[in-house]
Symmetry: C3
């Protein structure tokens, strides 16, 4: 036992095995306080999450919690077990949002290890987990896969043969749904802040979201703490000044939230994220960075049995300190422009 | 269409016409979370907004939301339509607070253009709007005029002849009211934190509020985001470093909130702002500034039919990095002392 | 009367007398918003305060407010009367937590002066107060003694002979209780995040809490403002740059909260602080400091009539910019290691 004694050292790569099921700690009752602070940290303006009245006009009980706030809270619970000793959060796949989350709901999370692959240096390995967030009734609110590079405690420790899960490149259209009871016939463009509905977007269309948001240490740390994300790299300047980057690293989810918030300017009616097909944190972000974003419409899908809503598959690219009027992208060699820090592929729902 | 495509470029001066009615986006259900964050950002100690019990003792349903929090939320909604391309927020007039706002109420906002005046340089013009905030029952919670200098998209664009509205120098006494059902007979000075009631103040009396509050980037940005105020100058250091001031500008309303909070020390029983007669952002404020304030009693007014409450017309002057023990003011030439950043004229209600 | 006029100058040492009873201003209805912001500022992960479901499984009505959030709110109310002219917050003793505080409860505070002792320089003196926080039903939620060094207005003012209260070195075991109706038989280690129960800890055991949290100006100011703590030294950089330290001083209670939050890593099942025996702010803390902590189990106590819960007396030591793997402590001469800023002695309750 180290000096830390009962303090949790977190799991190392060799502590995981495929099929392992982990119930995560710290159930969280989400409240109006969380929703307010989320708006305070992002500036989000999507009407569904801002107004009980707007939400009720669509058949919701009241304003549901922002999809990404639910994501971050569930994600945060997985950190102590999965990624306390992680070097990098590599990617997300097959992420689907389920039941809406309302203030008063209590979220819990569990994960199953679905893949393990040691790196050739034997110092680290990639852990693939499927994590599921549930509410107090056991309904799934979120279901996603992420993979993360985790340190080995002991590089000489033997590990099982590699298992790499077969992951879909995107959540298929037929898995996209809208909750029972939702009816967009009374959807109010003016209240929502955009005249553009599903039918107004074309595949291939690109939109520069124009605005920029500068990140402060206090803002990204408060966000990560709100999500009870305990990854050390976000909070400890004393340790990080001797680390890889010399400073605290912004929780990648905060960048996703900022990109989504910026995307309001162009997709104000994208009231719900139905799924995240994949997300890549192309580069780290730090306090002082100003986040910009642009998006491209990759696909359009109808929703089975519905005439009032449709889905857009978006790719949102976020940069730091680099406006996006000319859509900075990957080059011919697929290498991303040096300013890009996030490349997110997801499905949003819009009224038709 | 620019690269921004469907992203909202905001209105330019030539896009407005007198009589134009604009319904603003993003209805907002105000919550206990907003109230808590407002206290966290300002430190406000007015008992009415802090305690349900205190509020009930006066006949309120429960603690209403701080008047200025309601103001900022309504103001924030007007930004995308009115002042996204503004250079300066010039002034406020004839601002009256209506029905109290409680957690759970949903606020919406609309504006009417009541004046337009192109500047002689033809690059900009002044837009006058009357904005009204309403709750979910359609009751007015706030009604005010502001004017703002807005860029023209095209300096050669023709515009209509100037229309400048006739605005009152102050909200007249007979418009000052207290909501039905309020009864101050059980008002508790000790709980409120001040022994001084309406009768204890004299016209001409000046009070230095003593305390100072330093503004941090994270605090003013979180405040503006909480209000869903999307004015770019508050958030984007990357763009602002090449701007007029080389840095982000603090939302002027945050300075008003700080000045009001500081004024607790001297006006602890000024439980309600009934009206704002006029407000001038004399100078910009930036992170790092420490805000001080002093106030002068300009008028005293009885409230029609009430013996339990009276109104004080206050002028509160806020400075930056300059204590106010000697009441820094305008000079003989009416030019404000260089440290002054806010000059606010408003009516507060106090128990008698 | 000074320029400040009706602005409150606060009490000076010669304004106090033993036996004086003070009812403090600013009753506060604690809300889910306060709880959310507290999590956002500390990252606290104790399940009892995070989850209504977890709390109900133990017999609570729903998730109670974090013990220290209640402490800070009560403490904040005492500042304008007790410590506005304080130079240093010297210590705490005999602090017991009473009825749980739920969102919706309204907290008020009062203090009795129980001791006064002028310092030999006659410029300052020590004021001892017993402060009690009550809810809207008059139930005690917190009862504690603190002593603080307060300036004299006039060093030549005569003062009464010294009275120093007899204070217990620790809250005795027989005063430790668990609220009626609480039953830990369904306590869920996994949800709580720790496998270690009361029986697993040994007297003398020391635990390094490993993590570090860097303090930002915006975070500690927002915390102190949330608690409506109006002590000037936390907020005013313009004044403090000419002060003792050249910068704002972090509210000591924020350091206590961070230490408690860090202690989750090792004491995840310490679901309730029952009492604080003593606390010493060994040194000041400033923005930029990274807080680390370690703890030692000083005593173990059974709770009268209960088999499901026990008490641990902990000593938690917090440092700045100094990891605690080797337990930096007081030397043979009892002088604390130079990195130590907090030395806290308290009782926590744990499931057996």
């Amino acid at each position: 036992m180290t000096a830390a004694g009962k303090a949790d050292p977190g799991n190392f790569f060799e502590d995981f095995h495929v099929g392992q099921e982990i119930r995560h700690a710290t159930p969280r009752t989400v409240t109006a306080g969380d929703a307010a602070l989320y708006i305070g940290l992002t500036g989000s303006r999507f009407a569904l999450h801002s107004s009980d009245e707007f939400a009720r006009s669509l058949g919701y009980e009241r304003a549901p919690i922002d999809d990404l706030l639910a994501f971050h809270i569930v994600f945060g619970k997985t950190v102590p077990d999965i990624s306390l000793n992680a070097i990098a959060n590599l990617g997300y796949a097959d992420c689907r949002f389920g039941a809406p989350v309302y203030a008063g709901d209590t979220l819990s999370a569990g994960s199953t290890v679905i893949g393990l692959k040691e790196n050739s240096n034997r110092e680290t390995g990639v852990v693939y987990v499927r994590s599921i967030g549930t509410n107090q009734r056991g309904e799934t609110v979120l279901d996603y896969v992420r993979w993360v590079m985790v340190r080995k405690r002991d590089s000489s420790a033997p590990v099982a043969a590699a298992t790499v899960p077969d992951l879909p490149a995107a959540v298929t259209r037929n898995k996209l749904t809208l909750f029972a009871g939702i009816d967009l016939s009374r959807y109010d463009n003016v209240a929502a802040g955009s005249p553009y509905r599903w039918g107004d977007y074309a595949v291939g269309e690109r939109i520069d979201h124009r605005d920029g948001m500068t990140i402060e240490e206090s803002c990204h740390m408060t966000a990560a703490r709100l999500y009870q994300n305990s990854a050390r790299v976000h909070f400890n300047q004393h340790a990080e000044k001797a680390g890889r980057f010399g400073r605290r690293i912004v929780y990648g989810g905060h960048v996703i939230s900022l990109a989504r918030t910026l995307s309001f300017n162009g997709f104000g009616n994208a009231f719900h994220i139905a799924a995240i097909n994949g997300g890549l944190h192309v580069g780290p972000s730090f306090a002082g960075d100003t986040i910009y974003a642009w998006s491209e419409v990759k696909e359009k899908a109808e929703l089975a049995g519905r005439r009032d809503a449709g889905a857009l598959r978006l790719r949102t690219v976020a940069t730091k300190d680099r406006p996006c009027a000319d859509f900075p992208d990957r080059g011919a060699d697929a290498k991303p422009h040096s300013a890009i820090i996030l490349d997110l592929d997801y499905w949003v729902l819009m009224p038709r």
